[in-house]
Symmetry: C2
Subunit: 337 residues, 2 copies
Amino acid sequence: MPSSKSLGEFELIQRFFTHPLRADSPVRLGVGDDCALLQPQPNSELAISSDMLVEGRHFLSTTDPVRLGHKALAVNLSDLAACGAKPIGLTLALALPRADEAWLAGFSQGLLRLAQAHGCELIGGDTTQGPLNICITVFGEIPLKDGRSQALLRSGARPGDDVYVSGTLGDARLALEVFRGTVQVPGPVFEAARTRLEQPTPRVALGQALRGVASAACDISDGLSGDLGHILQSSGVGATLDARQAIQLLGVQRYPVNARGVFDSQRALSLVLNGGDDYELVFTAPPQAAAAVAAAAQASATPVLKIGGIDAAPGLRLWDGDAAPQTLNATSFDHFK
Amino acid sequence: MPSSKSLGEFELIQRFFTHPLRADSPVRLGVGDDCALLQPQPNSELAISSDMLVEGRHFLSTTDPVRLGHKALAVNLSDLAACGAKPIGLTLALALPRADEAWLAGFSQGLLRLAQAHGCELIGGDTTQGPLNICITVFGEIPLKDGRSQALLRSGARPGDDVYVSGTLGDARLALEVFRGTVQVPGPVFEAARTRLEQPTPRVALGQALRGVASAACDISDGLSGDLGHILQSSGVGATLDARQAIQLLGVQRYPVNARGVFDSQRALSLVLNGGDDYELVFTAPPQAAAAVAAAAQASATPVLKIGGIDAAPGLRLWDGDAAPQTLNATSFDHFK
């Protein structure tokens, strides 16, 4: 309908979202025509992912727009990372209640800064008036090797494989629970956790370094237990996690101000297993690839921790080193619910 | 955040939006992993477009979900058509106030029926809870010719070129004005116009047939004058339209029940020039390509009408055959405003 342009769509795109293309980009035509044009490298696959973020559901209305721009792209880059793809470009569709210039300036700054850091070009999209909604679709390249796909899938885990997780978990959920008032932590702990919630770090370099090394991978957006669950289901296998290892993933215990005492071990484990919004990678690799995993972690400057192993028996189990492994279901350890 | 899955996202996708891939598809992996995987044809470009539709702005809340599913994809396929691309796939991101099964069944039916008619696979996306919002990103292929792009762009129009429009214009706007109560027409006329508003026909076959024939093209989503204006601006040229030809584009006069008498010629021309939501193509071609344009129209079974020509002088002019051409601005002929 003609009224959809009343925002000043064209000026808005020109002012906040148009930038020159890099000379070496596979993008042949960016913003400004009916379509953008890509010319992917020969002998490569294109990885594509799309995420929609809604105010009040995926972010708080008070979120700094710079951080929101970062996060909206980060959650998409995290999907490319999980497939081992190198980012190329993105489209941005944006529904805005009104054309708030300060908000747009901040949002585009946060988004474009992260995009440029990853060589990911904004190639097109749409803007319209409506309840705040951010939909980004990202494109990445994965070179074929001897004509075969090197994409990391959820379906490649095999019994005997080790289970690894990158970085730290639980910080984002901790910040969310502070916002919700269910837990209190010292100010510096909250600020550190809040940064992880609002400006997650997509593990793009690690994902690419794991091509040919990891047998399966998934990004952790809904929580470790759920996202490892996707790998287990797609691969037709189960896993047993070592609780003593897994608990070391808790981000908060590494902060300068130690807040570990705030949590009993059940709550700590709950944050690790069911935190959500972490945007780390969970992946599997055969034991003989352990050195290659370590090399990938080092090459990408990303910490990686082995927390368990893949079993033939379906299901996800947690073992504390003493008692028999305990079977987890999706919420059995969510002590914030 | 973990709560984003409370819709039963995985069941919803499985039930309404998962379908087997065609054997000859360039899609290597569809719905169900972190990313979808495409392997485009060698020596081709990928055309990408993204559109966001918001309830109350782009469609009425009362719209039949089958028609809405059709339209949400049609407006995106129309962008591929305008570039001369062959559809390959789409991602669908959907924010829904609630998981209404009847609505989802209708919406997915309308969308997938049109997708299948164009060999366009649903390869991924996202669902979440929120105010109704539909964001589709489409992918199409354009073969390179002798290593060069054949994409139809907005920027290729040259003085002396003819200006053509496909199909008919104004029907969608007419239906909208009936909904708004600003005009009354006989029932069968309204139903025919409403079908054009709610189930537009993307000119996908025509767009592909115009590769190597048209010098510039754009789809008509905001109205002929505005979208031809994009071509003029991108190409650095102007155009003069023959009002006597242009008025023949009015769809309503071709309906079985003749409603032409409802409109004076000013209103009729206004519908043609500023209708919007038409999803026809406006394109240019040099006079020596006239036979090739006719052949493309015939091969794609799509009516095409020559309505004017490109001038070196900037601006859009309307000529009625008698008086001097009248310069148009974006709203000068919008007699519904």
